[in-house]
């Protein structure tokens, strides 16, 4: 009947934290995802050669991979940026989701909680509805170039609205007030979006193809777009991850331990929201990663945010890049929207994690 929560590497005398074994596992998952993301596609390349070609990107390394010049171009100009974008977006969504779950002490919190999804959705709908006439037939290729900017502005604007609305409720901003404000803002913005779509039925397919998420990139451009935000979010959230453990005892007790709960929460929510907005701006609304990955990590590697957050970032990135491989090969030459694939594979995977974790627990 003895229930021991910390498994494997845990010793009673050591505090919870990032275990080297798990960190190594996370890095390995990222590397595997990177090679797989580059190797598999309409033209499959031998993974060994791909790995060699990736090593060649390290300055000073010059090995013969046996790939033709055209294949090398596919690697470096087409697939690598897409795989890296998957790592960044998946890592950001999982990190932000884990962060929100800690800040709001709510296991159902996801990165789109505070109106990010609705804000980005409305802004993108506006841009698509107002686009100049004469787009070509392909709904993805026809997206206006201003979509990423609109999504970013819409997402950050919605979070700001949520925060101001929550703050209007009084000086004592409880986590629940902020979540309720997020629900209100989301409902308001979604109503606006639905109205616009109803007025302009032709845009529906384009808007939905964006809503379902995608990692189709214009080469390295999107990666460079999202990289500064990813770095900022990761640094801020990871540096403060211990505070999330302190916040888990509630605001009152965290304050008695010397923390400033409201200040910590504001900083962490701002950082996570910025990262989510950046991810959404290049990839649309990819669901599931932000909620499933942190929970899987929590079940496997312990409940401390000191290990959840860095591991969620690594495994979230690996998960999304691998999912993208499935999204573009399963129905080749057509692409399945990646949001559909994350849900399709994520749900059974999570059931598996739940089952195995239960076995260890009992």
């Amino acid at each position: 009947m003895q229930k021991t929560i910390r498994r494997g590497p845990s010793l009673p005398g050591r505090p919870a934290g990032l275990r080297p074994g798990w960190l190594a596992g996370g890095i390995l998952a990222v590397l595997v995802a990177l090679v797989a993301g580059v190797a598999f596609g309409p033209v499959s390349l031998p993974p060994g050669s791909v790995a060699v070609e990736l090593l060649n990107l390290i300055p000073g390394v010059r090995l013969d991979s046996g790939l033709t010049e055209r294949e090398i171009a596919i690697v470096t100009e087409l697939r690598l940026p897409r795989a890296v974008l998957g790592l960044l977006v998946g890592g950001l969504l999982a990190l932000a989701g884990g962060c929100y779950q800690g800040v709001f002490r709510n296991p159902l919190a996801d990165p789109h909680l505070l109106g990010v999804a609705a804000g980005a959705g409305l802004a993108v709908t506006v841009v698509i509805v107002l686009r100049p006439a004469g787009g070509d037939g392909d709904p993805l290729a026809g997206l206006p170039v201003t979509v990423p900017l609109a999504a970013f502005v819409g997402a950050t604007g919605a979070v700001l609205m949520t925060y101001l609305l929550g703050a209007a409720g009084g000086r004592d901003r409880s986590p629940a007030t902020l979540i309720l404000a997020g629900v209100a803002v989301s409902a308001f913005l979604a109503a606006g979006q639905t109205y616009l779509l109803q007025q302009d039925a032709e845009s529906i397919q384009q808007v939905y193809s964006w809503l379902l998420g995608r990692l189709a990139t214009a080469g390295w451009h999107d990666v460079l777009l999202v990289l500064p935000y990813a770095a900022l979010t990761a640094v801020v959230v990871l540096l403060h991850r211990r505070e999330l453990d302190v916040l888990s005892v509630g605001d009152q007790e965290a304050a008695s331990l010397g923390l400033h709960p409201q200040r910590s929460r504001l900083l962490l929510v701002a950082a996570a929201s910025l990262g989510t907005a950046a991810a959404v701006s290049v990839s649309g609304l990819i669901g599931f990663v932000g909620i499933i990955v942190p929970h899987a990590v929590r079940l496997l590697a312990g409940s401390s945010y000191r290990s959840i957050l860095p591991l969620a970032m690594l495994f979230g990135g690996a998960f999304l890049t691998l999912t993208d491989v499935v999204a573009r090969t399963a129905a080749a030459p057509a692409e399945i929207p990646i949001g559909v694939v994350t849900a399709f594979f994520g749900a059974p995977f999570f059931v598996l994690v739940l089952r195995s974790a239960k076995r260890v627990l009992t």
Binding site: T4, P12, R171, D172, S248, V249, Q252, S303
Partner: protein
């Protein structure tokens, strides 16, 4: 009374007012606790006991009369008031920074939050938060303090266990351990035994009393069980309607008249081994 001593009081509260939506919760409360003393605040529900503890613990601002505006629940400082009415070891509490304050005073809440999945060791380690740099991690010294506290409270064998799986009495000891790990000399206990059976009540209170002697702690508590309150405290403070209506040795406060007036309860008070025993009698 202990008589005049040159030492600075551990807690000194002068004319403390706290308002919540207009109605005063505390209306001019005075309170002094000497170092090493155990003072327990008693009083009927809504008397302001927990609020008093929150102000002393620094969880409500104490600058002058503390007011809460309109329907908002956030405390608002009244501008222009002089030095705050609450002093800890002579220092006005609002002059202490949060982390400094957390090294001086530790609070065990009435029903502390049990974080899901957290192990006992990690929970007790949270008590070292005021010593761990904002972006840093715990030092070997912090861990040594935690292991020492776990040993002292006979909790070492639970170190790796999930807090949520412990029994009520064991949990209460873990809550206490976290407060002790803070290294604070002033311990605030809000209803520390309300969730425990009488055996575990005695176990926890004896433990607190022993720690008070061993570690030189000062204890300010609130309690509902009047007999138990009187047995362990040096002095009792009876709070009613936000005012101190009686204070002194248990024998002076636990009288049938005072309890009838302020609790509206019919009781018999009989002499016990360690103080008066209060027995409710049907009206």
């Amino acid at each position: 009374m202990t008589g005049p001593t040159p030492t600075v009081p551990a807690v000194e509260v002068r004319d403390l007012w706290v308002r919540l939506g207009g109605a005063p919760i505390l209306a001019g409360v005075d309170l002094t606790v000497a170092p090493g003393e155990w003072v327990t605040v008693i009083g009927p529900n809504g008397a302001g006991k927990s609020t008093l503890l929150r102000v002393v613990g620094g969880l409500l601002p104490s600058s002058g009369p503390v007011r809460l505006r309109g329907t908002s629940t956030g405390p608002v400082r009244v501008p222009g008031t002089p030095t705050g009415p609450v002093r800890l070891y002579g220092t006005p509490i609002d002059r202490l920074r949060r982390r400094e304050r957390a090294r001086v005073v530790a609070t065990v809440a009435q029903s502390p939050v049990v974080p899901p999945g957290m192990a006992v060791l990690d929970y007790v380690l949270l008590g070292r938060t005021p010593f761990i740099p904002a972006l840093g991690r715990e030092s070997a010294a912090d861990l040594a303090v935690v292991h020492d506290v776990l040993d002292r409270l006979d909790l070492a064998r639970f170190a790796g266990r999930e807090l949520a799986t412990l029994s009520g009495g064991e949990r209460q000891r873990v809550f206490l351990a976290r407060a002790l790990a803070q290294g604070a000399t002033l311990l605030l206990l809000d209803e520390p035994t309300s969730a425990l059976d009488i055996g575990h009540q005695q176990e926890v209170l004896e433990l607190v009393d022993q720690l008070r002697a061993d570690a030189g702690l000062t204890v300010l508590a609130t309690m509902h069980d009047l007999s138990v309150a009187g047995e362990y405290a040096d002095r009792l403070v009876l709070l009613a309607g936000g005012k101190v209506v009686a204070a002194g040795k248990p024998r002076e406060v636990l009288t049938e008249d005072l309890l009838a007036t302020h609790y509206r309860a019919r009781v018999r008070v009989v002499d016990g081994e360690h103080g008066p025993i209060v027995v409710p009698v049907r009206r």
